[in-house]
């Protein structure tokens, strides 16, 4: 990569600006693109010729499906343009093998419906990657601008559709006034003639929009590589290095190399020229006030003579009157185009009918929303005051036991099989805090998991004590109270229980909390 050999200015652009870079390349090189595209379309036309007569719509489908092949020509020209070279149709033919060698089948089969089709096309056509290498490369290259790539693909569809509709509307608009031809109704009948016509218009629409789509994807590709590889920085550095070497050699030409010519300023603003003002009517010389009669006469004269009031309009309409000498086919052809609509049948209300339908629809939506909203409000009221209405109140849905209460793990699986024994063991080993903690949390675990006590994870010891009162008989409840107090004293006051008190708790534990033995 050298300054002066690049056909575009690399910059770290946003994705949407990168699409526009691709379009800029296309604008600058549209001639060779058009040449190559035309060649390819004609080639396909020759290929489809046997089917064209009977089933033209299948040809259109074929064109549509083979778009990735057509894209290759566009991308070939644009890839040359990146290095400032202008490719010609001959170059395309000369490089035929190179253009088609890489990934053609994949592009036409399983990559045909890729949502980033034009964005990834350069990866296999220009870089020649396939298989796992291709996938990895595509992942890296589309990581940043995949959203823009998808929007570009959607724009491709939309533009094609819009252009198709536009061409149809254009042709319909060109029909002579009063013509009976209604293109839109062709979709109902789908005569063979209409199918041919549709195929032609479809190919035209593709011709206009497909290169745009390819160029946009190529712009995204170039921009992503610029981001990843710092092409813009490399160019700037090379320019700097060149300047430096010149400075070192004390050459005087440095200044001209360093300076960059700015692009020419945009063309001057277009000027809107108003139409010549309409001719002002000439007034006869004014005299003193005249009687009414004279004024009336004068008015009549003005109406008659003044060109402003003699408005004539000449309307030229292309029409066809059969002479009886033309051949039959020509006559039916011309009849088709110039035949007049049957007059009469005032159809002015049709538009209003449509609007009334639309209006009714909006009103219906509003009605449904209003009634639905009222209904929902009533249901909500009933639900809100279900207790007062004496309706059966559903139980709270599944309560899930917390894994820990007040920071103590109470999952059954975290407990040893024989809790008192384990606690005694800990106590003897000189870890009374751990021993009491074990007793306490094991008791909580039993309460939560066996006795169905419902406490949230945020419950304090006091909360647990109050809740336990509802789930335990008085005896065990008293023991739980003692246990809680002992634990609290140890935990918060560092007040060690005596060995006897601890032993008492251990002995009472299995009976009080059911233990698992």
């Amino acid at each position: 990569m050298k300054p002066g050999t690049m056909g575009f200015v690399p910059r770290a652009r946003t994705a949407m600006e990168a699409v526009d870079l691709g379009l800029g390349l296309l604008q600058a090189h549209w001639r060779p693109v058009a040449g190559v595209w035309g060649l390819q379309v004609l080639f396909l036309l020759g290929l489809f010729l046997p089917f064209l007569f009977r089933t033209p719509l299948w040809c259109l489908l074929g064109y549509w499906w083979l778009k990735p092949w057509l894209d290759r020509g566009v991308l070939f020209v644009l890839s040359r343009a990146v290095f400032g070279q202008s490719a010609s149709v001959w170059d395309f033919l000369r490089e035929w093998r190179a253009v088609h060698r890489r990934g053609l089948a994949a592009g036409l089969l399983w990559r045909r419906l890729s949502p980033l089709r034009s964005y990834v096309l350069p990866i296999f056509q220009l870089e020649g990657l396939h298989g796992a290498g291709y996938r990895q490369r595509a992942r890296v290259l589309t990581r940043q601008s995949a959203g823009a790539g998808f929007l570009l693909t959607c724009s491709g569809w939309l533009f094609t559709l819009m252009t198709l509709v536009g061409f149809l509307a254009l042709l319909q608009g060109m029909m002579p006034p009063g013509s009976r031809v209604e293109l839109w109704s062709g979709f109902d009948t789908m005569t063979l003639g209409f199918q041919w016509f549709l195929t032609a218009v479809g190919i035209l629409a593709l011709t206009l929009t497909e290169p745009l789509f390819v160029a946009g994807g190529f712009g995204l590709y170039l921009n992503r590589r610029t981001h990843l590889e710092g092409w813009d920085l490399e160019l700037a550095f090379r320019r700097l290095a060149a300047r430096l070497s010149l400075v070192v050699l004390l050459l005087l030409g440095a200044r001209s190399l360093g300076a960059q010519e700015p692009p020419p300023a945009p063309d001057g603003e277009p000027v809107v020229q108003a139409e010549g003002a309409p001719p002002t009517p000439k007034h006869p010389a004014e005299g003193p006030l005249r009687p009414q009669e004279e004024a009336h006469q004068r008015a009549q004269r003005i109406l008659k003579e003044d060109p402003a009031f003699r408005h004539t309009e000449e309307i030229r309409v292309l029409s066809y009157e059969p002479t009886g000498r033309e051949p039959h086919w020509l006559r039916s052809f011309l009849d088709f185009f110039f035949a007049k609509k049957e007059p009469a049948k005032p159809s002015g209300s049709r538009n209003l009918d449509f609007l009334k339908g639309l209006w009714d629809l909006i009103a219906l939506v509003g009605k449904v929303m209003l009634v639905g909203g009222l209904l929902a409000f009533v249901l909500w009221l009933i639900y809100r005051f279900r207790h007062r209405l004496g309706l059966p109140v559903a139980r709270e849905p599944d309560w899930e036991a917390p894994a820990a209460v007040a920071g103590l793990d109470i999952r059954p699986e975290s407990l040893p099989p024989d809790v008192p024994a384990a606690a005694r063991h800990l106590f003897v080993r000189g870890e009374p805090r751990a021993a009491l903690a074990l007793l306490y949390r094991a008791a909580l675990a039993e309460l939560v998991h066996r006795k169905g006590m419902e406490i949230p994870a945020s419950a304090t010891e006091g909360d647990c004590l109050r809740a336990a009162g509802d789930h335990l008989d008085p005896g065990p409840a008293a023991i739980f109270k003692t246990l809680t107090l002992t634990w609290q004293r140890l935990a918060y006051k560092d007040d060690l229980p005596t060995r006897e008190a601890f032993e008492g708790l251990c002995e009472a534990w299995p009976a009080a909390f059911g233990g698992r033995s």
Binding site: R13, T14, L21, G166, E234, L240, I362
Partner: protein, 228 residues
């Protein structure tokens, strides 16, 4: 042949250079799409309310429809700094071709001429016109002398990799300084090999190659940013 660029540089009478980046049909299609969604959502909501007024509501709704379709873009473009909601969403802005903000008259002209760009049914004229003009102008833009541009991203202080500040041995131009700063900022996202390769291009300046050269170039960036 001049290399293709998305940036148009224009000079104001005060001698200030402005960089405008005209936006092409693809991004503008989506801005238009967003605008239409907004307008139609508003129209449907109002329509539901007005439906209860009967024929009077229908009449009012049509007036509203007219205003929304014709004047919504004008109001937003003039009062919203050249940005309708869709353009805001896609970071676009309408400007005069000389970079001035767009006023009432040009905005009105460019939006009324949607009639022409919309021909013959689905904006084909507008699409062709944007493709044929260098700055992606549709007919309305050409007549009104306006331009739809990509918005400049906000400038943020660069986050530079740590390195010992090194003073360059040569007075650097502004472009060169910003290239070195940009390199330091972006180098964490390059592969290590590519970073060194790029730094090697500057070896006449840094006097070293490979990892050492990279360190010197990063040091120059810190020096240029103000580290001493």
């Amino acid at each position: 042949m001049q290399p293709i660029d998305t940036v148009r540089t224009i000079e104001t009478p005060e001698g200030v250079e402005l960089h405008l980046r005209p936006a092409g049909p693809v991004v503008r299609l989506w801005a238009f799409f967003v605008d239409q969604v907004v307008v139609w959502m508003g129209l449907i909501l109002f329509g539901i309310g007005l439906a209860y007024l009967g024929p009077l509501g229908l009449g009012l709704w049509f007036i509203l429809f007219f205003l929304a379709q014709w004047l919504y873009p004008v109001f937003f473009e003039v009062l919203g700094g050249g940005r309708t909601l869709g353009k805001r969403w896609l970071n676009l802005r309408v400007l005069m071709t000389d970079g001035r903000p767009v006023g009432w008259s040009p905005s009105l002209i460019r939006n009324l001429l949607r009639v022409v760009d919309g021909l013959p049914g689905a904006y084909t004229v507008g699409l062709v016109s944007t493709l044929l003009t260098r700055d992606f102008q549709r007919i309305g833009d050409i007549v009104a002398g306006t331009l739809v541009v990509h918005e400049e991203a906000g400038v943020q202080a660069p986050v530079l990799p740590l390195a010992e500040p090194v003073a360059p041995t040569l007075a650097l131009t502004l472009e060169e300084q910003s290239a070195i700063l940009a390199f330091a900022e972006r180098s964490p996202r390059f592969t290590a090999a590519r970073s060194e390769e790029l730094a090697d291009v500057l070896s006449p300046l840094s006097g070293a190659r490979g990892a050492g050269g990279l360190k010197v170039v990063l040091g120059m960036a810190r020096y240029l940013w103000g580290g001493r």
